[in-house]
Point group: C2
Chain length 638, copies 2
């Protein structure tokens, strides 16, 4: 088998069949974005394409067999990832309908809701939206202001937007298409007690598309991208819904108005509910990966035909890909894509397995949430930087919408913001490690972190991936730290990633604990260490990603592919070290001469991978029909 095929098998992972099916199903040019359309036409187009996706397995895979689903969560997430090679508006529209709205019904609802909603929503007979974010609160979901007040008289909840800032905002589907919404609101019982944020199914529009009484929707208008998605705003004016509108898996209100929940701690209850919604976050990470790979495939293939400036001893000018600078701009980003793909595959498999358990271990679930937060942030930042670099690396051609890079950039730009702001998520990752999974300090509240930072390093639970013994073996087998050539040893790289994470976490914990304990002091300690904490969170995820790469290489049977993967892994690891070289030298993890050697090593690795450039991106397995860039076919360019 050709190298690219062997590499593709490694990258495809467990749900290879889902990917292969999608490669056939989605290889249609009418599913690509059409930048020449205006906003209304783009929305109309996506609306018409959604049924095409409904006929693929992707939506069905995410739901149980009793409602017509295939009960293959991993396959569903992988399907969404593949869909991201097509129009990203279509992917987001599908994600809202089946992932967010459908996911809320399935995860937060019970039998009654499943019976009533799942089949219609799978078949697009019911279009829903996911109304969590408000203008006033996006990151701090616990502070949402929309209220759902129970009225025992009529056995109804009254959904209300009491303030300007409680307006639901940026909600995909709310501007035009959704007839119902999963609305997150503070549940208040007749005694005036606020039981925190819960989710309710609320009708928005009648069959003619008009707002129902008490509901006022509006259109967010043009955005930075995702033009095919009708994002909107919703205001509720004392809208009454039946008691059963509460998605009552984790809490219920009886007809008389008594609130009950199997989870006593309100904080824990809130985060348990939120935790069931991670499939959105995992899907965004996957879609970001697809978008970055697509951009790199286009850019690499362009750099392998585009020539500029005279070449010595040759009739033709020099290929862009033969310039060291161009290699340096592109190849480390490809290595990043490989690393993140392996980490994504591992995460999806973990989620899938956990979902299949009768009684999932709560600590395992929190680890998965942490991982999803970290990989979502890392993958979406990687996508944003990658696509920007690709746009620039293709020069003027890169700025033409017909070459897709600008649309990719625009459509993915909000990925760093939605499904959790990346800076907030990265702090959450650090917090989960630092506070040793204390129930009291879940979520994103900065104060909690300072107050509950682990008192000893031993309290910080070191999470190892499945490949733990292999990783320990590699670390133990590494050579002396004084020699430059050990930089190419996996054990050295693993140890450097591990050391950095541990040191950053330990010192962050020490700084956070230095506060005297009162609120003001805790906030100040947290705030003073905020950049440090984010660094620690990133270092944690970097290690998880590298370990996933190492495990994937171990799983690769083909010796040629394995050899290339080893080099790609070196490039990934050394590029991460190079970017944080100052930290490694300041903390005596790198001598100044070894630090210089890191840069030389990155250059050398780029040169070594240059002959495989085409194979590396062909291995992404993106069908030709889904590339759709004029610059790859127009003879004027090559």
């Amino acid at each position: 088998m050709a190298l690219a095929d062997e590499l593709r098998i490694a990258l495809d992972g467990r749900w290879r069949e889902v990917r292969d099916r999608a490669r056939v199903e989605l290889a249609r040019e009418d599913l690509l974005p059409d930048p020449a359309l205006d906003l209304a036409a783009k929305r109309e187009r996506v609306r018409k394409q959604l049924p095409v996706i409904a006929r693929t397995g992707t939506p069905r895979a995410g739901f149980g067999a009793e409602y017509g689903g295939w009960a293959d969560l991993g396959g569903s997430i992988t399907g969404f990832e593949m869909l991201a090679y097509a129009d990203l508006s279509l992917m987001v529209k599908a994600g809202v309908q089946w992932g967010l709205f459908g996911g809320a019904i399935e995860s937060l609802g019970t039998e009654h809701h499943h019976q009533k909603y799942l089949r219609p929503l799978i078949d697009l007979d019911l279009l829903g939206c996911f109304a969590m974010t408000e203008t006033g609160h996006g990151s701090d979901v616990q502070q949402l202001e929309t209220t759902a007040t129970y009225d025992p008289q009529t056995q109804e909840f009254v959904i209300h937007s009491p303030t300007a800032s409680s307006r639901k905002d940026y909600i995909g589907g709310a501007a035009a298409d959704a007839s119902v919404a999963a609305v997150f609101a503070q549940l208040i019982t007749a005694d005036g007690a606020d039981h925190g944020v819960h989710c309710f199914v609320v009708g928005l529009r009648d069959e003619h598309g008009h707002d129902l009484p008490g509901v006022t929707t509006s259109d967010c208008g043009p955005k930075g991208g995702l033009d095919g998605v009708d994002n909107g705003r919703i205001l509720f004016d004392h809208v009454r819904v039946p008691r059963q509108a509460l998605l009552n898996r984790y809490a219920d209100v009886d007809p008389a108005g008594t609130y009950t929940s199997p989870i006593e701690n309100p904080n824990r209850r809130f985060f348990t509910m939120l935790g069931t919604l991670i499939r959105g976050r995992v899907s965004v990470a996957g879609a970001a990966g697809s978008a970055a790979r697509l951009a790199l495939c286009l850019t690499t293939r362009y750099a392998l035909r585009r020539r500029q400036f005279s070449s010595p001893g040759a009739d033709r000018e020099t290929l862009l890909m033969d310039y060291r600078l161009h290699q340096r701009r592109i190849l480390p980003l490809i290595a990043g894509c490989y690393a993140l793909q392996f980490a994504q595959n591992e995460m999806v498999a973990k989620m899938h397995n956990l979902e299949q358990q009768e009684a999932p271990d709560e600590r395992e679930h929190r680890r998965l949430e942490k991982r999803a937060a970290g990989i979502k942030a890392t993958a979406t930042w990687h996508a944003t930087r990658t696509i920007q670099e690709c746009r620039e690396a293709c020069g003027g051609a890169g700025y033409m919408a017909e070459n897709r890079l600008t649309t990719l950039k625009e459509d993915t730009d909000v990925f760093t913001t939605f499904e959790g702001d990346n800076h907030v998520l990265t702090q959450m990752v650090a917090k989960e490690v630092l506070t040793a999974y204390a129930d009291e300090v879940r979520g994103l509240d900065p104060l909690g972190m300072a107050r509950f930072a682990a008192t000893t390093v031993a309290d910080m639970v070191k999470e190892r991936t499945a490949a733990a013994p292999l990783i320990q073996r590699l670390i133990d087998a590494r050579g002396s730290e004084d020699e430059d050539n050990t930089l190419f040893e996996r054990g050295t790289q693993l140890k450097m990633f591990e050391d950095r994470e541990q040191h950053l976490l330990e010192t962050a914990a020490r700084r956070l604990r230095s506060s005297s304990g009162d609120e003001q002091s805790a906030f100040e300690a947290f705030n003073a260490a905020q950049d440090h904490v984010v660094h620690a969170g990133q270092a944690h995820t970097d290690r998880i990603v590298l370990e996933a790469f190492v495990a994937a290489i171990d799983n690769c049977a083909d010796p040629d592919a394995r050899e290339v993967l080893e080099t790609v892994c070196d490039l990934y690891a050394l590029r991460v070290i190079e970017r944080d070289k100052a930290w490694f030298t300041e903390h005596n993890r790198l001598s100044t001469s070894r630090a210089k050697a890191v840069t030389a090593a990155v250059n050398e690795l780029c040169a070594r991978l240059r002959p495989h450039a085409r194979d590396l991106v062909d291995a992404f397995g993106i069908p030709e029909e889904m590339l759709g860039a004029a610059m790859l076919n127009d003879p004027a360019f090559g």
Copy 2:
């Protein structure tokens, strides 16, 4: 006077009156972009707004009094910079008409062309475009393929596109509006001799907007931004133009077909012609500065009203701007804007003064070109990164087009590519310094650099800004390098910038000279050092920018403003050092403990500037009418 006003005076510089006039003239909401319009409507809108700009002084300022101009080049460039607060499509459309097309006529043409074209083009009676770039060659202009073959029989030039790749591409105005083009083509005389690239005025369309015989224009279609600009492609099929169509300031062909030029060396002639066109590059740097300032003004004001997560001992949540992470994301970018504004002002003044000389010194002109290349690259990268960070820092609101950040990002994204690709320009900067201004090695050809790298450091001409004595004084007065607190000394910072540049240049020269001299070896030496060379080019420009900042502080009379400027300058300098900290430690310019102190210093400076955040952006002097962001007024946000 208020602090913001004093700071504004410092930032405004020499052409303050031009800026103040623009602040009144442009404070109209109808000049802001309207993202709700479709492509055709956006173009139509810009077409209608262009006459509004024609009535301001900006276009007129760029041309001589004998043609109705004001002969105030600096004022003209400053006017374009101010125009960038409005719709950037309008700025680019104006820049094409008066800057590029008008600039080519004025700089490359003679009396005949001035008489014929300048008044009509100033008054918009003649719309032109600037047809340099071809699909096959953008960066390497010397290799353009379009031919202009002289026919002595008819005393005409025959303009022709012989290949697919010789198609003129991405040309602003070519898709619809321009009736003539300044076309760059290889001038070939009847004896078959190719005299290199020259510029010709060629008609494109008749009065009904139809392509003239032999001309085929087409539309580039949707782009990543600048929707209001009609970029297009042009193919010429043996189009005949009179002999006088050659803009003949630097070369001419007599009726019989004999080619003459006052500049004998063809390479030098080519770069002399190209060098006259730097006003485009300088204008783009200025526009990038405006866009970055606008984005930071919006983002800072949002961060001063937006709150998220509970605040200790307060009823209200914490302002975004009070988080250390947010300060770190925003304030160093503001400092960068200050630095670049001062460098831009200095550069514009230099260009203005040079233009006024009877016989401008050629070496001075080349220095100006180098500076324009370096500052263009630095300012446009700064804008791209700044606006991206601002978009993310405003979260979901940042993604809504009504808040302007996404449009700013899209419209400025091509700035890093057009008027010279930034990576190519940065190499050119390094090359100009490294090759000690050897005539033989101008331009962007990588081989030349390797072959002509200075043999001794003494050959590298150290260029000092106007403030040379002051800078030397500061450097001499600096304290011991062993103490952390000397990081806050201007002299220490200046010395560090200078040392880094010098060391990078010296070592780059050594690597380039290591080639054995033949073409293949020279290319390999160049290519192996390419990342190093770019680093050296950036370090050179960083120093020029810091020195401009120091000179500007020296010019500031108000003690309060001066004190704030000193802090902003510290932040600028230490942020540059922080980003390149690994280099400084690897080369023993920073001990590891001092390196840590740099990070602490950046945090401290951010905290020190936090109280002035609003003043710092108010000092940009952007009229309220030109901000146009819903998030700053909507009560739901603050």
